[in-house]
Symmetry: C2
Subunit: 722 residues, 2 copies
């Protein structure tokens, strides 16, 4: 019988025996006591003093400074360089040529009280990185957020974007989806603007009076097709080392097909105001004082973009504190350092928390508290243009990482509010325990209690849960490409603003609106640091598969329910079509395309998946009875080796349909959402696209993945039992 | 056994035997053939040529012209005069005195292409009738729509309007609720403005380019406390005849307690922009290009209003076509003639349909098709300031009406779209039959089919239903005060605009945006005319109590469900309070008042009501088996006499709590909604106010009303059976 001899389900801290847990708690208290908010404040002033996007001189200065800091704290520190393709805008022209002439200003204004916004010579012009070059002129069409359901609406309204230039609002999806879809629909250019409803005066006072976007602010950002593959566009799947074989730029699939430019709402208003045609549906309308219409035309615009495409160096700082007992087991902890402009919030607020955490961990080590496993702090370059620094590094070291990495813990911008954690669901229990011992700076309850209060207020259950990871920061190559268990942590919810990727994401803005006392920066260091230390010192890696199982089972149930819902809706839709309900209710004076009947939603065979789940549940229950106290050191090592590779069981060599770089079968960024996660992506996206055949194929693949994992765990049990 | 001998449930037309039904259908076809859209067009040009509010010269010209038309069509026509109090604005001053000075313009601009808007000398200044005089200066507070839940929100935010002047948006309730509630909360003045989100550029192009409100447009309207009593403020419950005893103005309960003024969004913007304090909740924000804040202050405003309060004559035109068989049974059909300005849509579009209907009915009579019952066409004056013309007339003739009126059929403004009918639910079956034989001008299906298609599209059932009557037009004194079965009819849904009660409600606006070919005007005449003729000629009055019963039972069920819901919400709320969820989730940097626990919602005894319903259902089933074919003329007369008084069984002498003028126990305008109906108002409003004791009292009263009605029907059955 296993149940009497194995069980690591009941320790006071997951992964530790009673005695070692006490020591660990003591260590974490010491760690917490070392954290100083003043360091965060000082370092942000240094690192966000000037613009520092990839390839800039000031960026390199930051890299050296960061590396020196790590060195001074006792870390073995390397600067790892890759050569990546990065476009710098040479020509940015947007003008309306009819019915009136308007030339877009394309320049955000410096504001009083924020000297950083006056560094005119150094500010990166506003643009979307990895837009293709182009020179197009055409009628304009307003497409709301430019996401799939907006094009469905346009179809109903009988409006085609073929040969047109579209103008889409920011938000509603990751920005790269907008030009991707527009190009698929035949548009020849794409403008993206920030509507004041989403992050301007509609939300609150604008900068410098308040935190939100003033009329001149422009959000920069990458439009690289990251849901296909992130990282250097010329070296898909392998590292962009100096002498790597590179695609020709024309072969790079992840550069947009059409030119794209982001603009302010000051520049967007004349264009939108000049549109005629049908009124935009109510949910499309923003907060500009105009009647939102769709066009096409009579507004006609000319968009000309020309980029300097060149290889630039990226510098990742990799700082290692060697483990005392298991130096070849790595706890990875990262945050990017590059910014679009000053990036006080994004990413410096997260980076300084990481650094303060590293300083404290280094000090502990110097005072005799060396970690058992190696801790590797990573400051990534070129995250903004496409997770490039981290992706190239993962691609460069994938074999070693898959052998050695036990976890990757990511942070990025941070602010006042509530703890949000996403990640591999085997880590849920461990994170929940940590969140219970970190104090919320404002309310003095634990950060867990405060987060749960919000969840309960919104009608959720009173249990700590991780959200599933999509994309949007450097965890993507770790979890979705390499199968390393990953987390993404941050505080927020009381730090709203419109500064994201603009010249207004500066130290003064951060101090006034984000985390004035850097208390939440310290709370982040405290939370991430404790997780880092737990993983570094655990006797058995703190992973739990019962919560993981529950989550995956819920996803399957959700897909099942969605399919039933889709079937019901299709039936209802067809009923309305058959009974002429759409015809009879349409206003005959408005040309509306009366919808056609849709193909019925078939019943899909879930049995293989359900059987796999049933078997897996029993095995996981058995596996969960393994008791740490009953394992000798050898067995613990064996168990750890097993646990270290569990997440890799969820990746497949073939990856997802049409995007083999994404190998994880449980979590992926949506092909048509960008950052937004799709869980069980193979099946879910096939069903959403009404591709029943592919859904059944993906069902088989996922069932196999789960059956293989079942076998993996069965073997593990036998091994540990033996 | 009754069931074998009585049943008027199966005729082809309700209220008619098979033979008489055929004749009636033929008659209605003749009637329909006579309707001419050109008359509607011509008459609108005449009646909406100049402004014609109550007391104006042009209004009197219209009255004489209308009366002469009726006379020419063979109606015995009288002009019935009352003397009512009507305030004309002498002083209208609104200025912001801090932090900057702004003087409100208070004047809508004439527009090109609409000469009516240039009749500057004749346009009624924009104001709210029955605002009290006043001269106040105070800090401003933005209160959203100024309805009860907005004040709940203000309380949570810790904002008090005591001693302040509030600014509220139009819509969200009938306008009179806004100053009423503001005064109850201690405000000393009230400004109402039209936000562009509700009927300005957010909705569509503004006048003259499109139908919506331009920045200078102002909605006029009464703020008399009509939910307490409508009609002349000095003669509550009795007619405002020349020598009637009148209250002193200071005693009139329905004049507002604080001064109120409506303004345009051009005038509102500087005031709202000058507010500071907390951001308005998202659902409060309109479409002005500002950050909506609540205040109070620093904006300070000075509001001065002075009215010329004088008695003016109102003229109702009452045109009677005497019935051939039952001259003392009256079918009443009405629409008002007074407007705030030109009133092309409100009310002339409805009035010209009524007149064309009357012309056709008169012609039929001349050609030998005299109605059995008398038909009385009414063109009411002074509807706009507070349903005054109709209310005084009903109060003047209440006894006679209760003896003779078999139905009151109301119309008002009309436009392109879908048929909407509200009214006494005993009339539902008859209206459904009529709606099936009137053709929709655009789709050529029946107006019933088109209306039902919209209902089905919105997820409703495929069955024709009447909505319950609240208030907002001249049916109110008939149904809610006198207990006359009533209907309110109109087409709409494809006629949106922002012209309501502004200088832009003109003939050119109507022709472009409302019903360009007057087809829906003709459809209204056709629908209302057929109903009129059915009631005029029916052998047995076409009323059905099984659908009525279902509706009332549903209302009881709804109240029960609402109470359960309220109990659940209260429990959940108290749970959140007890667990500090509100404290923990509140942003500590924003002063939020943490909610307190609420008194638990008790279980209320519905048994008396349920027992009454059970008995009534059986009786109604029995009553419904009465078969028209089996009744001789005497019995038919007896049955008609019984049916004529059924609606009066639902009114009580005492009326509703705190507003005895409103006597109907099933339908009333909401005390805090104004136009919006409250069904089973005694119980429903008591529960909504959490007044459990009053709810139980009202439960007893309603049970008694239903039991009395049961007895009434039982007696009727015995009488008919005998």
């Amino acid at each position: 019988m296993l149940c009497s001899i194995f069980s690591f389900a009941q320790e006071s801290i997951i992964g530790f025996s009673k005695e070692s847990a006490e020591k660990q708690i003591e260590l974490e208290s010491k760690f917490e006591a070392k954290l100083k908010t003043t360091n965060l404040d000082e370092w942000m002033q240094k690192l966000a003093a000037r613009p520092h996007w990839v390839g800039t001189e000031f960026g390199k200065e930051n890299v050296d400074w960061i590396a020196n800091k790590f060195k001074s704290w006792g870390y073995k520190t390397k600067i790892k360089e890759y050569q990546i393709l990065f476009p710098y805008p040479k020509v940015r022209l947007l003008e309306m040529t009819a019915p009136e002439v308007y030339k877009a200003k394309l320049e955000a204004k410096a504001v009083e009280g924020d000297p950083y916004t006056s560094q005119a010579d150094e500010l990166l012009p506003s643009y979307n990185a990895f837009s293709t070059d182009g020179d197009v002129e055409a009628e304009l069409v307003f497409v709301n957020y430019g996401v799939p359901k907006d094009y469905e609406e346009l179809e109903k309204l009988g409006i085609d974007v073929k040969g047109k230039i579209v103008i889409a609002k920011y938000y509603g999806s990751w920005r790269g989806i907008k030009p991707k879809l527009a190009a698929e629909k035949g548009a020849i250019g794409c403008i993206i603007y920030s509507d004041p409803k989403d992050d301007g005066y509609y939300r609150g006072d604008v900068y410098p009076k308040g935190a939100f976007k003033n009329k001149t602010g422009v959000q920069r950002g990458s439009v690289m097709d990251m849901p296909t593959y992130p990282g250097d566009v010329l070296t898909p799947g392998y590292a962009a080392t100096k002498n790597a074989e590179r695609l020709d730029r024309s072969e790079a699939k992840t550069i947009t097909k059409i030119p794209v430019l982001p603009i302010s709402y000051e520049d967007a208003q004349p264009l939108l105001e000049a549109l005629e045609g049908k009124n935009a549906p109510e949910s499309w309308r923003g907060a500009l004082p105009i009647t939102y219409k769709i066009g096409p035309g009579p507004a006609k615009v000319h968009l000309k973009l020309d980029f300097d495409w060149k290889l630039v160096p990226t510098y990742n700082v990799i700082a290692t504190l060697k483990g005392d007992e298991f130096p070849d087991e790595w706890v990875l902890r990262g945050n990017h350092h590059d910014a679009w402009v000053h990036g006080a919030n994004d990413p410096i607020s997260g980076l300084v928390a990481l650094m303060e955490e590293a300083r404290a961990v280094g000090e502990l080590a110097k005072n005799g508290n060396k970690p058992k496993r190696s801790i590797v702090y990573c400051a990534w370059d070129a995250e903004e243009p496409g997770l490039i620094g981290s992706t190239e590094w993962v691609e460069d070291h994938i074999k070693e990482l898959q052998e050695k990495a036990v976890i990757y813990i990511n942070t990025d911008g941070n602010g006042r509010g509530f703890l949000n954690v996403g990640g591999s669901h085997s880590l849920e229990g461990m994170v929940a325990q940590v969140a219970k011992v970190v104090e919320d700076p404002q309310t003095k309850v634990s950060v867990s209690e405060r987060s749960l209060a919000r969840k309960v207020l919104n009608g959720g259950e009173n249990s700590f849960e991780l959200y599933a990871l999509g994309s949007g920061s450097d965890y993507t190559p770790f979890i979705q490409h390499a199968g390393i268990p990953s987390l993404n942590l941050g505080f927020g919810g009381e730090n709203a603003g419109g500064e994201y990727h603009t010249i207004y994401d500066t130290y003064p803005h951060y101090k006034r609106f984000k985390d004035p006392k850097f208390e939440y920066g310290a709370a982040l260091a405290n939370t991430a640091g404790r997780i880092t230390l737990r993983f570094a010192n655990a006797e058995v890696l703190p992973m739990k598969f019962q919560p993981w199982f529950k989550t995956i089972k819920d996803y399957v149930q959700e897909i099942h329910t969605n399919l039933d819902e889709m079937r019901k809706e299709t039936k209802q839709h067809n009923h309305l079509v058959e009974n002429n309900i759409y015809d009879l209710t349409a206003d005959p004076t408005k040309e509306i395309i009366i919808p056609k009947k849709k193909e019925m939603v078939p019943f899909v065979d879930f049995s293989a998946l359900q059987n796999a789940l049933t078997n897996l549940e029993a095995t996981i229950d058995e596996f969960s009875t393994i008791k740490l106290e009953d394992l000798n050191d050898n067995k613990k090592e064996e168990l750890n080796a097993i646990l270290q590779k569990t997440e890799q069981q969820f990746i497949t060599e073939e990856g997802l349909p049409r995007r083999p770089w994404f190998k994880h079968q449980l979590y992926a960024p949506g092909f048509y959402t960008g950052y937004g996660v799709k869980t069980l992506p193979g099946i879910r996206e096939a069903l959403e696209q009404r591709n029943w055949e592919e859904a059944e194929q993906q069902m088989t693949i996922l069932a196999k993945t789960l059956n293989d994992f079942n076998e993996y765990l069965q073997n593990a049990i036998s091994k540990i039992e033996s």
